[in-house]
């Protein structure tokens, strides 16, 4: 089976793979480079033909953005909404997952209910969800922006699977010892389900950090806008004529990229599991 012929075939195959993968990677990365280049260029943006390297690179577009737009305020709003979404996701999903894992009467009905809710895409609910949020008086508030994103059905099932894998005897022993169910979740089940928690955190973070349509409807004042909203607003004011717009994009990307690079493995695992967005 082995042998020189097979080995060299594999070697050529690797080489060919790189040959195909490198241009593909370039295609994927070029838009990022183009963005970076535009944000650093000191030249007039509309010089033709467009240069490959930034002419007279400087950081002044970033200064312009800093003074033109309440970036910290936008950042804070995004962080707050995402934090709310992530925390409530973990808490709510873990509780629900635990209940499902322990079993109770009427469970099948609930599971069916959840599965069918999963089939309803978010955009289909937008108009009444807006009306409901208005009735609740939560328009223009962080809570209002975070609420629809505070629980993910996919993650409930993830927790359920993870909790079901914990041996019953452990839970029963804890109960005999008189632990309340809440303590059992907190001290036994959650620590044993680190992967599910990590996936949940990543999913909830990405979904809330990048969400655009919902905050667009809920946030009325500029003071409440999140980063994507601020960017879109800036775009409509400045069209695409200013290097500041691209500097703004780079600044907006920084936190997300940082989180991505630091939690890459969890990211990919979480997003594959949650690709069927609940």
């Amino acid at each position: 089976m082995a042998g020189d012929a097979a080995l060299s075939r594999r070697g050529i195959a690797k080489w060919l793979a790189h040959l195909a993968l490198l241009p593909a990677s370039a295609l994927m990365l070029i838009p990022f480079y183009w963005l970076l280049k535009t944000s650093l260029t000191g030249e007039n943006l509309f010089v033709y033909p467009p240069r490959v390297w930034p002419d007279d690179p400087n950081l002044f577009h970033f200064v312009d953005v800093w003074y033109a737009v309440p970036f910290i305020r936008y950042l804070w709003n995004s962080v707050l909404v995402s934090a709310l979404a992530v925390v409530s996701n973990v808490v709510l999903n873990a509780m629900a997952g635990y209940a499902l894992a322990q079993g109770f009467r009427g469970q099948r009905g609930i599971v069916l209910l959840l599965l069918s809710s999963m089939m309803i895409p978010f955009q289909v609910t937008v108009v009444p969800a807006y009306l409901i949020t208005r009735e609740l008086g939560l328009l223009n508030s962080h809570l209002g922006m975070a609420l629809p994103l505070s629980s993910t059905i996919v993650c409930i099932f993830l927790f359920k699977a993870s909790f079901s894998a914990i041996p019953r005897s452990l839970t029963e022993a804890a109960r005999i010892d008189g632990m309340s169910e809440w303590r059992i979740i907190r001290e036994i089940h959650l620590p044993l389900s680190k992967a599910a928690v990590a996936t949940n955190v990543v999913l909830a973070f990405v979904w809330s950090w990048n969400s655009f349509l919902w905050p667009l409807l809920v946030a009325r004042d500029q003071q409440m806008q999140t980063l994507p909203l601020g960017l879109a607003a800036f775009l409509s004011v400045v069209e695409d004529t200013s290097g500041a717009l691209y500097a703004f994009c780079v600044m907006v990307l920084m936190p997300g990229l940082l989180v991505f690079l630091m939690a890459q493995r969890h990211f990919i695992a979480g997003l594959t599991a949650g690709a069927t967005k609940g």
Binding site: A13, L29, Y48, R105, P128
Partner: protein, 308 residues
Amino acid sequence: MTAATRKMQRVSTAFSRYRPWLPWVMLAPALAIFIAYRLAPLFWNMVLSVQHWSMFQAPTFAGLYHYRELFLYDDTLRQSFENTLIYLASSPIAIAIAFALALLLDRPLRARGLYRAIFFISYPVMTVVVAVIWLWLFHEKVGLVNHVLLSTGIVGKPLHFLQDDQLALGAVIVASMWQVIGLYMIILLTGLQSIPATLKQAAASDGAGPWQRFRHITLPLMRPSIFLCVVVAIVNSFAAFDLVYVMTDGGPGHASEMMITYIYDVAFSLGRFDYAAALTIFNFAFFMMLAWFANRMAGGDAGGGDGR
């Protein structure tokens, strides 16, 4: 039976027997969210769509008034629906490309992790940023796309991508493909890596060539992953809102209008929540049909179950 065992038997049902309200208490918050933001809106949409709704008066029953308008008189809807279909039809291309990439990566390359990160990095990027990036890339004077097309002689004059009736939607689709291909690739790669190598080796030693191995082993085993990609594609078409809103705002005219942006316009620019509800129900019915089709094509089994 010892006393301890008896006690254990009693306690083991303590969860739901002695405190039947406990599971419900635990489920309540999550359920409340879904009822409030998924189920109730769906039903409210259904009700709204057969009402005349107004901010100033109580709603009145309207029967199929809105649906008649939807099916018979609304040209913009026709355009949006068409565009959504075109958008969906482009996803097999993206999935195929991602499949090729995944196949290339499904071998012990040293830089595999790096490649994976490179292809995937565009997915967690905010869609608004993706839109701005591609807005700039497609710029009619200094955009990179035009520059490349002109320098390689493919076109003689720069193309006004985002102002052109034919090209605007294409531009949005390209941007969306760039963003989502990484996700498809990761899904497919995970699927590929779960195919036991022994299967392929056995087939090879039985004399099956690479193409035959692909067709009879790889493809069938990849069905759930491909199904997952299709579901992602369908869900993504509804999320194209961000891209269209920023890049073209549905324009020029309604050449790049999608169902979701049209619904948004009708509801929040025109204030016609009732008609928007009818459009939403129409959209939802279409979505269910697609999901059902995709399910059938995947062999009747909903892919990998509930999000493994």
